[in-house]
Symmetry: C2
């Protein structure tokens, strides 16, 4: 049993230390290029550090590009993965499949251009060019080297019909619309509120809620600027404004309690407002990594709130395809993404 | 809207500072004895500090009973509630209803002897006897004073047929069996694993899973002593032994992945084992306050695990009644509780 689930599938054989933990929790991975029968080796083109990681490195090294580059190289060399030890975060990568083992279930073949949808914190990685082409000034790192995907890794072939920066931005948050769709579809014509509705994951969650049959979709945003922008998209039936960290203000802004509340606000302290805004028998889905488990659990108990609270799992089968389809088929969703990623024609 | 849900119902009018937060998040509550129309005043008999809070106070004051007593009094006087500022935790209380407002929905009447099922961290409390009868040597505090219940508070009338310490011990963890029952009943004859199965909440979760129709119930425990004790109860079809913080060991011990995994182990680091042990389409219910939200969310994503992860909400309607009924009707459950609370005849 363990060999199928906990063994090579999850990459445990690549853990060098400490023994017995999963690759994400490991201090050091074996990034050697020779693949096992269920692994895939990818030729790396670009690393995308997550924003928190780049910000930390930038601050720690006073913005000095050479020092930042050296720090990233040091992490990758020491750990066998790009896992920022301070922030605990990683990012994703883009590359081309070099070799796929005969038992890999990922459906990839040599030459496929892919993005990884699992974190760099658990992806064996080796860099061979010293990151010489990176100017150290953004989280986008041109790189040469290789990375290893396990049987249980997730990777998506980059679509031909969308610019790469757009596709990456969409894939980065594709767990939110997929899980929102699943939860909303479990209710009959529910009302849905999305906190942080103008962000990337919030925009996709609104669109997914509508597609899943929501009868009423409310978007909550913090500022007048976002309120106007979101109203113009038509993605929400109603746009309201409140500080998501203020429970009373959130409940007052949303009005009648909703069946499903989706939290896409990436700041601490949004648990109680989400719970107050949700009707008995309803569900709160927390996507923010800033969510506090005890605050949610004790908050619901303290409010005698009979609500189901979900930890937003970033993996739902078919999540990348669903998110990309929302971008392709709903012009307002695409427009809100290209407003971030730059001109739609960018490569 | 806000007046019904966020206003007096949740006790916001009792928050003195900072403004706008819920009572649990407040630094200071108004514990004045005069009740609003939907409030209840309780004459306090006993406070039960939660174990973490008492342990912290005991350590901080070198076990000196007088210093511990003074510290508890200082907290209650300053904050208007017994909310340990270091641990963030509270406890529960036992008392008798003194006055129930005409609009209170709790169904309590003067003279009812009750236990509060919401945390002391959000319950307005005043003590009038200086805790003079408390020896400072345990978390059980005889006390005189009053406490206030809100419309959305939860309290249970103490049953006539069970000793008070037993009833309190059961009520303290009654959220776990209720939510376990609900989740297990959502599957057809599922397999269920309980991590930390020999503890109070674990024992009740095992019994609730069985009652909800589980086809196979596995209990995981850390030691040979607990393994033998749990085997003897017959509450689990299978008892296995592993360190719940070791993902590989947990998955290996449980064997075939289960449909529902219930985490009742109150130590950090049990997220990945629970996820690995759960089959695709399954559900993990986290009851431990030591659960890390990011570890669960990123862990599931890193394992491409299509599992639903629930934050264990301590409130499910009817939870106290269900837990007490399990204790009354299943001798092995009762025996495992009385082994902790002492002689079944204790008052």
């Amino acid at each position: 049993m363990i060999d199928r689930r906990g063994g090579t599938e999850a990459g445990l054989h690549r853990v060098l230390e400490p023994a017995g933990v999963l690759p994400q929790a490991a201090l050091r991975l074996d990034a050697s290029p020779r693949i096992g029968p269920d692994e895939v080796r990818v030729r790396v083109e670009r690393l995308n550090l997550d924003a928190a990681s780049y910000r930390q490195l930038h601050t720690a090294h006073g913005g000095d590009p050479d020092a930042i580059r050296a720090a990233v190289l040091e992490i990758i060399t020491t750990r066998g993965k790009m896992h920022n030890p301070v922030t605990g975060s990683g990012g994703m990568l883009v590359g081309t499949v070099a070799e796929a083992g005969p038992d890999s279930p990922l459906g990839l073949k040599p030459g496929d251009r892919i993005a990884t949808l699992v974190s760099l914190t658990l992806t064996p990685l080796a860099v061979t060019d010293g990151l010489a082409r990176w100017d150290g000034r953004s989280e986008q790192i041109p790189a040469e080297g290789h990375a290893i995907l396990f049987a249980r890794s997730i990777a998506a072939v980059l679509p031909d019909d969308l610019p790469v920066p757009l596709a990456l931005a969409v894939m980065d948050v594709c767990g939110a619309p997929a899980l929102t769709h699943r939860v909303v579809a479990g209710y009959a014509a529910p009302s849905v509120a999305v906190l942080g509705a103008a962000g990337k994951s919030g925009t996709l969650a609104l669109a997914a809620a509508r597609r899943a049959g929501a009868a009423r979709v409310v978007g909550l945003v913090p500022s007048e600027r976002e309120e106007k922008a979101l109203l113009a998209t038509g993605l929400a039936d109603q746009v309201v404004r409140a500080d998501a960290r203020d429970p009373v203000a959130v409940a007052a802004a949303i009005g009648a309690p909703v069946d499903v509340t989706v939290v896409c606000v990436d700041v601490p302290g949004c648990e109680h407002g989400a719970i107050l805004a949700t009707a008995p028998g309803g569900t709160v889905v927390f996507f923010s990594m800033a969510t506090s488990f005890p605050a949610a659990a004790l908050g619901a108990e303290g409010l005698a709130a009979d609500v189901t609270m979900l930890i937003g799992n970033g993996y739902v089968p078919g999540h990348a395809e669903m998110a990309l389809d929302l971008v392709r088929s709903i012009p307002a969703v695409r427009a809100s993404f290209t407003a971030r990623t730059g001109a739609d024609s960018a490569q």
